[in-house]
């Protein structure tokens, strides 16, 4: 057992997209796409994931930058979280994303970590991270869902052999904003809705997104749908920095005359994917923005939650955060 020290691997640092895609084709499952490296390096240092080749994408200029387009904005997947957080247009029109980006990890990590990397990061279940041969690691057991398991950070919804949750602060926001994820491989390009980009264990237990090994997430398109809406984001973590959410909530609302006209809301930290709270949207749409509406929303949000041994607290936490989103936006 070697702790906290990487094995050797081949490191490629292509500057052109086609070279990166060719490398991914060449190495297939033995290749590893690395963006800011904040997730990757932990895996390597613990020698739990040991790719033959690491393809560092940070030298590819076209994967970076924030552009205003006709229907909103396009953000290169490798734009750093700091740039996202500080961008005037994002702050002005899509403040929800800026707020969420600012709550990711620590300033140092945000300076290196990217929006695409943050959204596509792997599960933080400590058993999985510690190298337990669990379902997600290709084995046939979940170690986090046993009578003795320490599963305070795990799922309330959608457990399917695996009980890990999405740890991303930006993923629920991308779902709320109706983002489109542009994915490229040597065979071409496809565009996937954010809500379909993230996948649960029922679809594929070994990954968190639809990305195939030979594909690269190139761009995140944010449509104008929610531009200028009233936003709410809150992340509850044990610490105020450098910590993952126990539960987070993100919402966008348009209010007309005290009545919720349009709403989009999702939670992080409660399911393997950002939990899009469609029932909440249906309940509150057309209702007055009031404590009563917030109460109903909170109750509806947690209906069907199945806590594990150590995460009962996520039920009131999620309920309260949804209430706050509805009443305080």
């Amino acid at each position: 057992m070697i702790a906290d020290m990487m094995r050797n691997f081949e490191l490629y640092q292509p500057s052109r997209m086609e070279d990166a895609l060719a490398l991914l084709d060449r190495y297939g499952k033995d290749g590893w796409r690395m963006a800011g490296g904040k997730d990757s390096l932990d895996w390597f240092k613990d020698r739990v994931k040991n790719p033959k080749a690491v393809i560092d994408l940070m030298g590819i200029a076209e994967l970076k930058g924030i552009r205003e387009v006709k229907d909103g904005i396009e953000i290169g997947a490798l734009t750093t979280l700091t740039e996202v957080e500080k961008h005037p247009l994002i702050q002005k029109q899509y403040g929800l994303l800026a707020t969420a980006a600012r709550r990711v990890a620590s300033p140092q990590i945000r300076n290196a970590g990217t929006l695409g990397g943050n959204a596509a990061q792997d599960a933080r279940c400590w058993y999985y991270r510690d190298g337990f041969p669990c379902y997600r690691a290709g084995g046939n057991t979940c170690y986090a869902d046993t009578p003795e398991a320490m599963n305070r950070e795990h799922t309330l919804f959608g457990a399917d052999r695996c009980v890990a949750v999405t740890p991303s602060d930006t993923a629920p926001v991308l779902v709320v904003l109706g983002a489109k994820m542009v994915i490229r491989s040597s065979k071409g390009e496809r565009v996937v809705e954010a809500k379909d980009f993230f996948i649960g264990p029922g679809v594929d237990i070994t990954r968190m997104t639809v990305l195939e090994p030979e594909e690269i997430l190139t761009t995140i398109q944010i449509p104008k749908t929610w531009a200028g809406a009233q936003f709410f984001f809150e992340k509850i973590a044990d610490r105020q920095t450098w910590d993952f959410a126990l539960v987070s909530v993100a919402s966008a609302m348009f209010i007309k005359g005290g009545v919720i006209d349009r709403i989009s809301i999702a939670c992080g930290g409660v399911e393997c994917v950002p939990r899009h709270l469609k029932v909440v949207e249906d309940i509150v749409r057309g209702e007055k923005q009031s404590e009563e509406t917030a109460d109903l929303a909170g109750q509806a949000a947690v209906r069907g939650a199945i806590p594990l041994n150590y995460n009962h607290f996520k039920v009131p936490l999620m309920q309260n955060l949804v209430k706050r989103a509805i009443r305080s936006a």
Binding site: M1, D4, Y127, M150, R152, I236, D238, D243, H312, L321
Partner: protein
């Protein structure tokens, strides 16, 4: 008393190097032909090594050698071993491999086939005490540094009698008592019986314990990370198997230890032994992942206390039982310190303490800031508040009436003993005034939306000084005053503050002082290590002794050369001057030259007989180079010297999320005369931040089925971050002198953490209308569940849980 230097701020000499990155730590050193070694860590919580097949590793190009437990000195159980053939926790070093670079060494470690036979293991002390429960070691389940390894099992009846949620109290390993306990409880108006758990957690020193060593001409040169100095020598020498005189320890800077690098620890000598074996210098870089395992942790408690309170709040009787999670080895005596701390902080009229130190297959434990005292503060202070509520008393008043003053007593091992000074009442009063307690307490329970205010007071104790160590100073012909400090440098700068006593006694300018430290070759005296909040007291005494010796020698030399007796001379501005004839004077430099010429005791050629051999050897190194002042601290020490502190805090708890914000914090230190105000302020604030970690964040988390840790790195362990800190913090001191220190000083480092932790826990309880968690840490989920009227996830006695 007024001083020129004591009580004034100054910049310690190592600050600039630290803030510019120029300071060198163990890992920064290189030697010609240096190899790197990596450790093979146990993947199992308890196992026996049946066979080691290193053939493939040894065939690798660049691999130079392997060292196993069979190659290194062994010490009687339950000592911390250097390497082991019976790993007792996941992450315990089994063997080391040396190679020309670290990456080859690591790859070689992975090629070694270790055949491990899994053995029963245990992570919960109570599980081990239950009849038929597993033992952490094959040869016992109860032990401590000062308690022999043995097997103790309680009866099933002990457990059944206690019932669910109450600590069973079977046969203790140790106990003591004084006074009439039964009468005390009979006289009490309120009697509380509470069961509590305080979590153990790792030290997580910022600088992992990397070390580098090589051998030259029969001497072992060791660069290591340690809080302490010469106190290490005999212990490290024993680990290496040499005489202390054969060891050269270079340890100028320490990147944090918090107790885990207080005394010598075996891992540090692995490169020394490897270097001896392979005949080349060896560097062992310990990384963050490894530091979690080998870097020690604080023992956890499962405890129970019965406390009787009179109508006026006076504590009539205390019956305390501590089940102490000692890790697998020698551990530390936190459980004993719990009893001592109770006896001094609350001065109970009668008291019984019982304790048992149980072994678990979790990382080894050692002292962490306030070992036992701070867990006790965290556990007991909220219970005192509960009594205050039931009696309708102010929480300041209930503390004041029990707090020790100079007539206070402490359990001394045989009976109640006296104190050299105690100003806890003064600390409470001064703090209450500065914090405006009487006004702030009116805010208790005030709600604004979903947020509620809580206020709390905390107190804590640690012993704060020892006696009998040596001082060594030297005045050079160039007039400079060299202060030889063997205490170490754990990062508090107290090595520098306590050195100023010498300049004070000799009336020297601080700019003309040089502190010699951090390297055996400089000639350092025998000093106690930098642990146990003792430095301010112990080092000022020994430095004072050496300074007085130097002063006497200066006066003697002057009288020899210029006539009259020593008493006719005085020191003035780095000169020895005749009291009535100022034309008769000599500079310190001239006196130093004369000392060299005179030889004998003046130049250190003759030494006092009562010096420690290490001081004698060091003095011999510098003998003949100047005027040597050297002496053992023989000042009276007839009582326990306590460091005491009080803390006041105001918080705001979000009832919808369980998160809290610290709005205002004040720490108050009873540390005797303040030596260095700025450094004291840092101690009070730093201690408070560490206390926040203890109260609300940090803990070992273990899966009991696999014995594997869920909270290894910084990010999982979650020590407080910058953004978790109080919005407003301050620290003040009572600043009244101790009776048995020449400048009235005593230590403070440890209790300022415990008082902060306990104040915070009291404030949380206050915000929740008196709800007691009886557990540390109190995490947001626990607060939220309590605020939502839901049951906690943890069972009352559960340990190592999330």
């Amino acid at each position: 008393m007024s001083y020129k230097l004591i009580g004034k701020n100054f910049t310690p000499p190592d600050v600039a190097a630290k803030v510019t990155g120029k300071a060198k730590y163990s890992e920064d050193f290189r030697a010609e032909g240096m190899l790197f070694c990596k450790l093979l860590l146990s993947p199992m919580p308890h196992a026996r090594v049946r066979n080691i097949d290193a053939s493939e590793a040894l065939k690798m190009e660049g691999v130079v050698g392997i060292m196993t437990a069979d190659d290194v000195p062994k010490f009687p159980d339950p000592a911390n071993p250097i390497l082991t053939n019976e790993p007792l926790y996941v992450g315990e070093p089994i063997l080391a491999v040396a190679a020309i670079n670290e990456s080859i060494a690591a790859d070689a470690v992975e090629k070694i086939k270790v055949d491990l036979q899994p053995l029963p293991f245990v992570t919960d002390p109570l599980t081990s005490l239950y009849p038929g429960g597993p033992d952490a070691r094959t040869n016992g389940n109860v032990a401590n540094a000062r308690l022999k390894l043995q097997t103790i099992k309680w009866t099933a009846k002990d457990f059944a009698k206690a019932g669910e949620g109450k600590l069973p109290m079977g046969k203790p390993a140790e106990e003591w008592s004084y006074g009439d306990l039964e009468a005390g409880f009979k006289d009490a108006k309120v009697v509380l019986d509470e069961t509590f758990v305080t979590a153990g957690y790792p030290h997580h020193s910022q600088e992992p314990r990397s070390a580098m060593a090589y051998w030259q001409n029969g001497k072992c040169y060791l660069h290591g990370s340690t809080q302490s100095g010469t106190f290490n020598y005999p212990f490290l020498a024993k680990f290496i198997g040499i005489k202390p005189q054969q060891l050269v320890l270079i340890a100028e800077n320490c990147g944090g230890g918090f107790g885990s690098k207080g005394g010598a620890y075996p891992v540090m000598v692995i490169p020394a032994l490897m270097s001896k074996k392979v005949g080349r210098p060896v560097m062992m870089r310990i990384n963050r992942g490894e530091e979690y395992y080998v870097g020690f942790g604080r023992p956890g408690f499962q405890g129970r206390v019965k406390m009787g309170f009179r109508e006026d709040g006076r504590i009539t009787a205390v019956d305390l039982y501590i089940v102490h999670d000692n890790g697998p080895n020698q551990g530390f005596w936190d459980f004993r310190n719990a009893g001592t701390a109770m006896s001094i902080v609350y001065q109970p009229l009668a008291m019984r303490w019982r304790g048992i130190s149980v072994l678990t297959n979790t990382p080894p434990r050692t002292a962490q800031r306030g070992p036992g005292e701070n867990q006790t503060a965290a556990a007991i202070e909220p219970i005192v508040d509960k009594a205050a509520r039931q009696l309708g008393l102010d929480r300041l008043a209930i503390r004041r009436i029990n707090a020790p003053d100079n007539t206070g007593k402490i359990w001394s091992g045989k009976g109640l003993g006296p104190l050299t000074s105690a100003y806890l009442k003064d600390a409470l009063d001064k703090g209450a005034a500065a914090f405006n307690w009487m006004e702030k307490k009116k805010l208790s329970g005030q709600k604004k939306g979903n947020k509620v205010i809580g206020v709390g007071i905390g107190q804590a104790y640690h012993s704060a000084g020892a006696a009998g160590f040596d001082g060594l100073v030297r005045i050079m012909p160039d007039g400079k005053l060299h202060i030889h400090s063997g205490v170490g440098n754990l990062g508090t700068y107290s090595y520098a503050g306590t050195s100023r006593v010498v300049a004070e006694v000799l009336d020297s300018k601080w700019e003309n002082c040089v502190i010699e430290r951090g390297d055996s070759r400089k000639g350092l005296p025998w000093n106690l290590g930098q642990f146990g909040s003792n430095t301010s007291f112990t080092m000022t005494r020994s430095n004072h002794a050496a300074a007085v010796d130097a002063k006497n020698k200066l006066l003697e030399i002057a009288s020899k050369d210029m006539g009259g007796g020593p008493d006719d001379y005085k020191l003035d501005n780095e000169r020895v001057v005749h009291k009535s004839d100022s034309s008769k004077s000599m500079t310190f430099g001239q006196a130093a030259k004369r000392a060299i010429e005179l030889g004998g005791k003046y130049s250190g050629k003759e030494l006092p007989k009562d010096l420690n051999p290490i001081t004698k050897g060091s003095a011999a190194m510098i003998a003949g180079t100047g005027l040597i002042g050297v002496a053992k601290d023989n000042l009276p020490k007839t009582a326990t010297t306590p460091a005491l502190s009080a803390a006041f805090v105001q918080i705001e708890v979000d009832l919808e999320t369980g998160k809290l914000e610290i709005l205002d914090y004040l720490g108050v230190a009873d540390c005797g005369t303040v030596i260095h105000p700025q450094s004291l302020h840092h101690q009070i604030l730093g201690g408070a931040i560490m206390g926040l970690g203890m109260a609300c964040m940090e803990r070992y988390v273990y899966d009991t089925k696999y014995g594997r840790a869920a909270s290894r790195g910084f990010h999982q362990q979650k020590p407080p971050s910058y953004l978790d800190l109080p919005k407003k913090m301050d620290g003040i001191a009572v600043n009244l002198p101790d009776s048995q220190n020449p400048i009235g000083s005593k230590g403070i480092g440890e209790p300022v953490m415990g008082s902060a932790a306990s104040a915070l826990l009291c404030a949380i309880s206050d915000a929740l209308g008196g709800h007691l968690f009886n557990r540390t840490p109190v995490l947001p989920d626990m607060i939220l569940l309590a605020a939502s009227g839901m049951k906690p996830s943890n069972k009352p006695l559960q340990v190592h849980t999330q």
